[in-house]
Symmetry: C2
């Protein structure tokens, strides 16, 4: 009996190890497929295909498990024992490998690359850097990577917080312990002495001082940004933000608290309305998606659980500009605004919030003047600002007058050596002088025509191309992720490209740049609008809004997950929501 | 295209509704099966059977889903449309039922029952009370029920926090909105005026005053207990407790923080050891289970992720008595102590903690005197104490000299009318006078023999039986749950039993008591010891320790879940752990 249970545990453990191997291989294959998939997207938009992809992703895992169980059932006993022996020996070998002392690349003469931050840019760099070439160190106040595009889903429990995070230590382990991670906050960059100063939570060591210093040869700054409050008084104290997983968890708890408070006896109608007034400040993609998610949560789940107070619920989106979702095509903006009006989300455009207290939000509008509205919960999502550490760093490198840290097209920070900045904390400035002939090359790099034959249309096209290159890149996961991968690729080919430079001609100095400059490849953008409808804007001016796009959204977001583990968790969360709805515990 | 996706969504929603119905029916059937299962347990101990039960529970759900999908695939198109129509019409009817205005039983002349607390006792009462007979109101600071026996699993991420909670509003909805729930804390009971005073979080209404008063005809006090610190200085400030879901979540985060802190550079060996010294104070079932879970977490998952610091990990269990798990059979205690010694958990018996600071725990022992040990994280789990609201209530009803609120065998609080107390906040005192002839009845109620023929063995047996009845009931989920069900049953039969009293003869007064007194039926107890081994002590002195008992534990705990939703979540969490291990994000 004891043996039998031992057998099952061994089998399970072996299965788990095997599963990891398979996952690793599949991940690699899938990532490649993924690109193909995205290229394929603009032409295939049928729901069927998207649903099929999701189903296949899910059923793949299930089938594997079922087959394993069935195979064990069918096998005669002596074969089972043989299997246990084989698998046992195999897993023992694997386990021994696991427990080997990790090779930390200290003192091997490798140059040290220090990465600050484990968001999209940092994690993407980490995934792609060849750790056999560098001594890689990572510092971040969070020991996990967050799949930020699903944060609005976490606020309402459509997806659980843990389903969208991947521990950095898992990546360390998958890479054979080839780099080091420290959970600490970098509070000062010292580019002169090539050091960064970090601090951990209190109580790290006996004297309670958690400070330490890390030397670097190359520094990758990918600390991201912080929410921009435009110094509006009361925002930090009274509003929620939506940048981190913890923010999303807090919002979720707060929504439930608002409903519970509004349900108490002895409240006036006014008070119930106040508690159930949810205000979103900022009509960007995050704010709009959160408003849509909240609206779904209220109508699909909470209306049934809080029937007495559902009539008091009011969701407002306050936007300083004329329209919401301004970075999208006009058709999408129009559709979103119409949909919000139809579903009862209160859209207040041209309103600027000037003050937030614990009781009311004060805003102004040229027509109405200043008005104050009581609210139950407010989420501030108006854009991003620069973190203090970056502001301090900018002063040191002579960028004190700029608003954002500037890098060149190779992501090198202007004004200091060996420091690279990517993701939301930096922006790329173009080379100032551009060869006129370069300008007149088409995207394949062929000179268009002789200069004298250029007509006005072609000149306009050329200018548009320049414009697209000079335009500031959006602060999105896509940009950060591509920058990370690009930079890691540069680092990996540092030696080769030193000898065989592939970049454009240097303007100052002679010869060519080592690497081609970073070029952003826009793969499209989604804006979920609630009610199982999503707006999609893909390259080639392909625009679609509807239920089919929602399924496209599901499949793209499932495929883009960091690991098979999180993919399984996210897909099973979606499934759980379909079957049981969202959880309403105020937890 | 649009239609096709509409179809899938409708189908999904219909499926979700149907699933809920099936779940409801299955739950009822399963609950009955469950009792049979537990009666059957002492004789069937094979792992196979237990594993089969788990597999069946899981595969039941999967098979259902698979069959549904296959059925849809195979059906011709016109039949599908017919199905959509039928299901659509059905679900429309159901949805209409859902949205009906809830019947709140106000002013119908029904007596009002107010339940304070939604733990095991309160939730069990709620599940069983006939809401057509009473106007039921529930007040609790948490809007969910927690499956507390799995709390130690939540501390290490074996099971997620949300998997073990069931929102009270879900129960309200399943019961057709037949009772009311308020998320607030009851801070004062006024038995003279039959009122309770409640307060909610701040900011409930415009003037920020969240107080309100609820009248009652019958009051059910099931507020549970609080951790008992024995007034040891520094415990509240520096130790974690393990009573609520939030406690478990905090412990989980704290464990990860300790590992991350210990991994930082610039720390001495001493400091790393300090950060990785996990201390559990109290050798009861909760403390021991947490120690075992933590040990598994460290060895199965964290050792691979933190290979540099795993050698510094130390888990200590401090117990004031001679042995841990004193409420279990000696064989289990012995096995647990041996196992802990073998696996390297440091067991400090006969040590009394006298002070806790943020740096060290001070304890005394008759042999060594006072010693102070530095620690990284401490969990205090030494037993339970009385909540302030109960102490205040005891003063009012003349029980100021007692340590715990006393009730009679019908769970009525001594010293006041129409107030019942159950669960951890109360204890049952026996009737003081007992008929000598009653004493000499065997368990079926037949008089054993004539008095003069009574031999010493039979007299001992009779005394043991008395002893078992007088002994204070343990503060466990089982007791609370049975008390809740018993009391609800009494309330449901109030009218009938008024006319047909079924209880024993009254000692003071004439006639019989209305109800039979509450009798606790002990169904057994588990003590998970880590490494997929569990100790079980079931009725009939059936004791077993090992891997097979772990599978028994899995199946019993899966079957005991509050709803099919949490059952699915818990089982899938276990599955996820088997495949991917526990999550190490410090979230």
């Amino acid at each position: 009996m004891e043996m039998y249970s031992c057998f099952s545990i061994k089998l399970f453990k072996a299965f788990r190890k095997a599963r990891r191997h398979v996952a690793l291989v599949r991940r690699r294959v899938f990532d490649r497929k993924n690109l193909a998939l995205l290229a394929f997207l603009p032409t295939t938009t049928t729901t069927g295909a998207a649903a099929w992809i999701v189903t296949m992703s899910v059923s793949g895992g299930l089938t594997l498990a079922r087959r394993a169980v069935e195979a064990v059932r069918r096998t005669p006993r002596w074969q089972k024992r043989l299997l246990v022996l084989t698998v046992g020996a195999g897993s023992l070998t694997y386990a021994c490998q696991d427990n080997q002392v990790l090779q930390i690349n200290d003192g091997t003469g490798k140059k040290r690359v220090v990465i600050v931050g484990t968001g999209w840019a940092g994690a993407s760099f980490l995934r792609n850097i060849d750790t056999s070439l560098y001594d890689v160190h990572v510092v971040s106040p969070r020991n996990y990577f967050t799949f930020t595009p699903l944060l609005p889903s976490v606020t309402c429990g459509t997806v659980e917080a843990r389903s969208i995070v991947e521990p950095i230590r898992n990546i360390v382990r998958k890479r054979g312990g080839a780099f080091r991670f420290w959970e600490a906050e970098c509070y000062k960059i010292d580019p002169t002495n090539k050091k960064i100063h970090c601090k951990s939570d209190n109580g790290t060591n006996i004297d309670g001082n958690g400070d330490f210093v890390v030397d670097y040869d190359y520094l990758i700054v990918s600390v991201g940004a912080r929410p921009n409050t435009f110094n509006t008084p009361g925002v930090v104290e009274n509003c929620h933000f939506l940048k981190e997983v913890e923010d999303a968890q807090k919002i979720r708890k707060s929504v439930m608290k608002c409903f519970e408070r509004a349900s108490l006896p002895n409240l006036t109608e006014e008070e119930r309305k106040k508690n159930l007034h949810f205000v979103i400040i900022g009509g960007g993609p995050t704010g709009v998606e959160f408003a849509a998610e909240l609206h779904d949560f209220v109508n699909e789940d909470l209306a049934k659980l809080y029937p007495d107070v559902k009539k008091y619920v009011n969701i407002s989106v306050i936007e300083a500009g004329d329209h919401i979702l301004t970075m999208f095509d006009k058709r999408i903006t129009q559709f979103a605004e119409d949909k919000f009006k139809r579903t009862g989300i209160d859209l207040k455009t041209n309103f600027k919030v000037v003050k937030v207290t614990d009781k009311a939000i004060t805003m102004t509008n040229s027509a109405t003047g200043e008005i104050a509205v009581p609210y139950g919960m407010a989420v501030w999502s108006t854009g991003i600002g620069t973190r203090p550490i970056i502001m301090d760093f900018m002063k040191q490198v002579g960028q004190a007058n700029r608003r954002v840290l500037a890098t060149d097209e190779w992501l090198r920070v202007h004004g200091c050596d060996d420091v690279y900045a990517l993701g939301d904390c930096a922006t790329i400035t173009q080379r100032k002088v551009m060869g006129f002939h370069d300008l007149l090359k088409d995207s394949e790099g062929n000179a268009i025509k002789e200069l004298k034959e250029l007509d006005i249309e072609e000149f306009k096209k050329a200018l548009a191309r320049v414009d697209s290159q000079v335009k500031m890149l959006p602060a999105t996961a896509q940009v950060a992720s591509q920058e990370g991968a690009y930079l890691a690729n540069c680092f990996n080919r540092m030696k080769y490209c030193e000898e065989n430079p592939e970049g454009p001609l240097r303007i100052r100095g002679t010869g060519r740049h080592r690497f081609k400059p970073f070029r952003y490849r826009h793969l499209g953008q989604f804006a979920p609008l609630g009610g199982e409808q999503t707006a999609a804007q893909l390259p080639g001016d392909w625009i679609h809004v509807g239920h089919s796009t929602q399924w496209l959204w599901y499949s793209v977001y499932a495929s883009k997950q960091f690991s098979w583990r999180t993919r399984m968790l996210v897909v099973s969360d979606w499934g759980r929501r379909f079957i049981y709805g969202r959880d309403s515990s105020s937890l």
